[in-house]
Symmetry: C2
Subunit: 137 residues, 2 copies
DNA sequence: CGGGATCCTAATAGATACTG
DNA sequence: CAGTATCTATTAGGATCCCG
């Protein structure tokens, strides 16, 4: 499992009794950390269209390395968001597909996506102002 | 701006015309990457209660280092999600507070939080199953 | 085609010490 | 109190080669 997966459960155990609110936040946080990595959300969104093979997915994402796509898919599979089906043909054919759990993630993620889209210009402006007032190192 | 902020705008520029859908995804992604870091969401959630001083925030979060809290707050401030007010008393007093933009982020984040909370047991089980079937390296 | 294994770099987190 | 500076450990991510 090489590059460290920060474990939701462990994190939960550690913080569950340190206050309901904070507990909830750490749960949110662990999920955000999980799907907030560089490729997970994009992958989930692309898989929303339907099942997809490894290399097709790779092409559609475009600038992802083979390694990261593999790791991303393994992570999503481990969390039960994506299923992996092997067709033992020659050449081999492997299809990835969103599970129900994976599909259920779309709604909140798209809500956040909408927020991002609605406000990204405002964020960009805020950054410009900030950078203006805080000269480069 | 030391530890690299992956720049929303730049990312947007690069991907805006490579398809509306993918463009949207990259936008979502950049926002997720931003707020998906280890502390941002937790910080925003705690600030939702009202203004808070640096060290009080640090205490409430508990296991954050001074450095990371500073970096997190700077990032949030730069994105216009948090305001920083200095009261030039002795000792100095600095209050952080959510801006309107920051407050508007709460809704989608809480939606995701709810999802996380509703499904984290299912995710944990999925992981257990996966790890069962995929013995440790 | 769909990866696994390996090597390498860059980004990020934490610890510690110091400062106005 | 509210940071900055510095140093180190850990992680994420890319490149490359290989294999069934």
């Amino acid at each position: 499992m090489e590059p460290g997966y920060n474990d939701v459960t462990e994190h939960l155990e550690k913080h569950r009794f340190s206050g309901e609110f904070k507990g909830r936040c750490h749960t949110v946080n662990s999920v955000l950390t999980r799907i907030g990595d560089k490729w997970s959300v994009l992958t989930v969104m692309l898989l929303a269209d339907g099942p997809c093979r490894f290399n097709e997915l790779k092409r559609r994402i475009g600038d992802i390395s083979q390694r990261m796509l593999t790791l991303t898919l393994r992570g999503l599979e481990r969390d039960g968001l994506v299923s992996r089906t092997i067709y033992p043909t020659i050449p081999p054919r492997v299809e990835y597909e969103l599970t129900d759990l994976g599909h259920s993630l779309r709604e909140p993620v798209e809500a956040l996506g909408k927020w991002a889209f609605d406000h990204h210009d405002r964020i960009a402006r805020a950054r410009a102002v900030y950078d203006q007032n805080n000269p480069e190192t």
